[in-house]
């Protein structure tokens, strides 16, 4: 099967004065039609910048470095004209954001905002757009959609606002939905409802989804495959099952151990020592080596590629080829 979206060696930098932050630094992955790819990592690892880069929403002083490739249906999005790009945004690839409260325009009714998206892509009348927005609000499970359409964002709860964002994103039936931590700002019960809604709509519309989160519990339930990011790179990639069963990268292992489990007794949660280094000064060699319990001299010198672990697993770690180096 051909991938729907092919990202190759994506590099996005932010230059402020003399310091260059390499927020995304050589990320590559494929997204296949209809699948859900979970993108996991700590804060500051480049998840959101990667998502924004795919839609070319990086603003000055940010810049996507020449040579990066984001191929959608055979065309490099980085080479599109502004007009073609607008057709892709929302029409083919849509995005929802972490904070629904700030992602909606405070002075426009939610119906008007959905209608704006529709009218940006299709030649339809105001009444038609309004009618369709009410239908979309209904689709995402908002009660009294007709009445809600004429309300302002502050009149809706956080969960309702996120449903509006989803309605807006799905209004033009995109083939890919990028969901950037869509449930992080919501409380846990609402979080579950939104996840169910996204999964149901995805099946119904047959779209692919990139689901960004730092919550392994969330991603376990929704993703077919998972890519783990660290230091602006993808360091491990596998099917969800394989990743949870036999995580190969020490960072992924540490992440899994840091997540609380309901089926294991623990007095204290384990933590990963140290912090993510700043994007202006990634360590030489493997970016995780200063925090890695297994690191040896080799790790601070050469960076491995994503090394294959058949059948469907790849990890950017020398342990893949030298497993005896693993310390107990």
């Amino acid at each position: 099967m051909n991938p729907l979206l092919k990202v190759r060696d994506l590099r996005t930098t932010f230059t402020i004065g003399d310091s260059v932050a390499r927020a995304v630094d050589g990320a590559s992955f494929d997204l296949f039609p209809g699948e859900t790819l979970g993108l996991v990592g700590e804060s500051g690892c480049g998840k959101t910048v990667m998502a924004l880069s795919i839609l070319r929403l990086i603003e000055d002083p940010g810049e996507i470095v020449a040579g990066s490739v984001i191929e959608y249906e055979g065309a490099n999005l980085l080479e599109l004209s502004p007009r073609e790009l607008r057709r892709i945004r929302g029409g083919e690839i849509a995005m929802i954001f972490q904070e629904p409260t700030t992602s909606l325009n405070p002075v426009l009714t939610v119906g008007a905002q959905i209608a704006e998206t529709l009218r940006a892509h299709e030649e339809i009348s105001r009444e038609e757009a309004r009618h369709r927005s009410v239908g979309l609000l209904d689709l995402v499970g908002i009660p009294d959609p007709d009445e809600r359409a004429s309300q302002y964002p502050h009149q809706l709860s956080g969960g309702m606002q996120q449903r509006v964002m989803i309605a807006m994103a799905l209004s033009c039936e995109p083939k890919i939905l990028i969901a950037d931590e869509p449930t992080t700002a919501l409380d846990v019960t609402i979080q579950a409802q939104i996840l169910e809604l996204l999964a149901a709509l995805q099946r119904q519309l047959g779209m692919a989804m990139i689901f960004i989160t730092h919550d392994l519990g969330v991603v376990a339930g929704i993703a077919d495959r998972i890519a783990v990011m660290y230091g602006g790179q993808i360091i491990e990639e596998a099917t969800t099952k394989s990743l949870f069963r036999r995580a190969a990268h020490p960072y992924t292992e540490a992440l899994l151990q840091a997540a609380p489990r309901i089926d294991a007794k623990a007095d204290r949660l384990s933590v990963i020592p140290g912090a993510v280094p700043p994007a202006t000064a990634w360590p030489a060699g493997c970016r995780f080596h200063p925090r890695c319990p297994h690191a040896w001299e080799h790790c601070s010198g050469a960076v491995p590629d994503l090394l294959p672990l058949p059948p469907e697993h790849r990890a950017r770690c020398w342990l893949v080829v030298e497993p005896h180096r693993r310390r107990a």
């Binding site: 057709r87 945004r89 029409g91 849509a94 700030t102 992602s103 325009n105 807006m168």
Partner: protein, 278 residues
């Protein structure tokens, strides 16, 4: 009562401004029915010159025996019309320039803002005097046009600043992610968010324009006699400030009241509309 109205009326000085502005606007609108005399009629050149304020002539009469109350009241029509239309023009231009500069950024922004800086370096009243002196018999519409064309700088800077800050807000990124074009983004998403600063700028701008128009008319290059304008009445009354002080005093008070009224209202609107003080 909406939250906005409550916030607006919570301050006594804002209410005062609102009352002053309302009274002025009503008086100006109804002037033809309110005035006791034709403002340009020379009532009695033999014995009616420089009459003291009285019941028949609340503000007295001037050199040509014209009723000053009628003239000041009619003057409000001129001043307010000139002010409203000039501000409409200046705010429209300022908003357009500010939106384009802020949204386009880069070279467009730099060029536009350097032009604005250059325009700021020219003293405005001096420019107006030169233009009005060269352009003989410019008329009311010409005056409005010139005032409007020379006063959009503030509005453009304020709008640009607001656009630059709006641009970094999440909802603008979210809107751009839906494939909306720059024009639709500006019109549907940014402009409604700019309403508050624009309204405040316009309200405060009216006071400024009234002062400028009065200054120009006082210098004899604004509104042409016998059309009554506050500035030109003051100029006429200046020579007799000792013997008939009311001629210059009443239009002077009218200017102060108007400018203060719009100033108070503008400040009140800013406080009531500004989300940061909410």
């Amino acid at each position: 009562m909406s939250r906005f109205t409550q916030r607006l009326l919570a301050r006594r000085r804002t209410v005062l401004g609102l009352v002053l502005v309302s009274v002025l606007c009503v008086a100006a609108a109804l002037a033809p029915w309110l005035v006791p005399y034709d403002p340009t009629a020379q009532l009695d050149l033999a014995g009616g010159q420089y009459l003291d304020p009285s019941v028949a002539h609340p503000f007295g009469t001037d050199f040509y025996s014209r009723d000053l109350f009628s003239r000041v009241l009619y003057g409000s029509r001129i001043s307010l019309t000139v002010a409203f239309l000039s501000v409409l023009l200046s705010v429209t231009i300022g908003t357009a320039v500010g939106l384009i500069a802020g949204l386009a950024g880069g070279a467009v922004d730099t060029v536009l803002m350097r032009l604005v800086d250059a325009a700021l370096a020219i003293p405005r009243v001096f420019l107006l005097i030169v233009v009005l002196a060269l352009w003989e018999g410019v008329g009311l519409w010409g005056l409005i046009l010139i005032l409007g064309l020379t006063s959009w700088i503030d509005a453009s800077r304020i709008v640009r600043g607001e656009v630059l800050s709006l641009k970094t807000r999440d909802f603008v990124t979210a809107a751009r992610a839906t494939g909306i074009g720059a024009r639709r983004l500006a019109w549907s998403h940014l402009l409604p968010n700019l309403a508050a600063p624009i309204i405040v700028t316009a309200t405060l701008g009216i006071g400024q324009i009234i002062l400028t128009e009065a200054a120009l008319s006082y210098l004899g290059i604004g509104v042409k006699p016998p059309m009554p304008s506050w500035g030109s009445i003051i100029a006429e009354g200046q020579q007799t400030l000792g013997s008939a002080p009311w001629v210059a005093t009443f239009p002077g008070i009218a200017i102060v009241v108007t400018v203060v009224g719009f100033g108070l209202l503008g400040d009140g609107l800013r406080d009531a509309l500004d989300p940061r003080t909410r």
